[in-house]
Symmetry: C2
Subunit: 169 residues, 2 copies
Amino acid sequence: MTVRKLADAIEYSPPTIYEYFDNKDAVLSEVVQNGFTELTREMQSAGGQSTVPEEQLLAVGLAYYRFAKAQPELYRIMHGMGGVPLDARVVAVNAQLAGAVSQGVLHNWAVKNAVQLDELEASELLWSTLHGLTILGASNRLEGGDERTERLIARAVRDFLTAWRVQGV
Amino acid sequence: MTVRKLADAIEYSPPTIYEYFDNKDAVLSEVVQNGFTELTREMQSAGGQSTVPEEQLLAVGLAYYRFAKAQPELYRIMHGMGGVPLDARVVAVNAQLAGAVSQGVLHNWAVKNAVQLDELEASELLWSTLHGLTILGASNRLEGGDERTERLIARAVRDFLTAWRVQGV
DNA sequence: GAATAAATCTAACGCTGTTAGAAAAGAGGT
DNA sequence: ACCTCTTTTCTAACAGCGTTAGATTTATTC
């Protein structure tokens, strides 16, 4: 994506872009912002399909991966791959996203299973695992392709819950 | 990093670079290659400090993170952030790296604890978690800075082993 | 319709990766 | 030492990039 191509696509000259955005990074920040909004919505929607916390967590994880798989270029930009550095605003949205996962589903699971939970720590760990699997899966660096990556995600979620149930806080 | 700056640094003119490399990506591929070689060496060295599989695994994980933290720009390039697409060669090296972790340490742990282990699956899961935590930690997207990230890594490794011990293959 | 404000353009600057072709440096033979 | 040939290195240039200054067109208001 270049400023000139963007200008071409909307049938304006390049400088017109700069009437609405400070620079190219500002344009992409907007894209990133929208991306996170959409991703969050899809995750929440996926989680809402069930009322069983374990199922919700798996659904959320799969939604995360499928989003990355469906729009790999967007996902790349959203996470600072592709040369666009993340600014503070984007990081804030990120944290909010992690929070959305933890606050809702993890909390429900904890009370239901009478497990003491450091919600922040738990959500960050789960999020990291999902993020790692997603990056590797979406860039085809895991054997066995799509279904296998989804199975790995399922296993990761299950392992995560097992560990917390056994070890607690 | 630009071709002209590289040429300046070695006190040659830009076209000279193209006598030794096909293009800029080829130069960076070389850098990535060397990066993975060094990372693998550091992980193996860290693992060799102990003979207890649990400790080895933690040491390997921390070495992975510390490498990324010490040379964030290199780590970024190594994983396709910064606009350089990964080619097949690099992915192969990646798989080899994951293999190095699993083949050695995980196998020892499994026989010692009489746990049935899908080594590939286990190593990919562990690797993904490490990768995710490292990316988020090295780009300061986890609360609490460096020590906390290392504690999260320790917890992740412990959780990983707990889950496999409890659930097995 | 003239004057002002807003939107958009053309032209240019300095940067990038890359290539063609000239110049310089080195090697071998007489 | 000189000429020839090969290898190495350079200068100059092209097309594309993000970005800015300043002119020009379009819209708004009296």
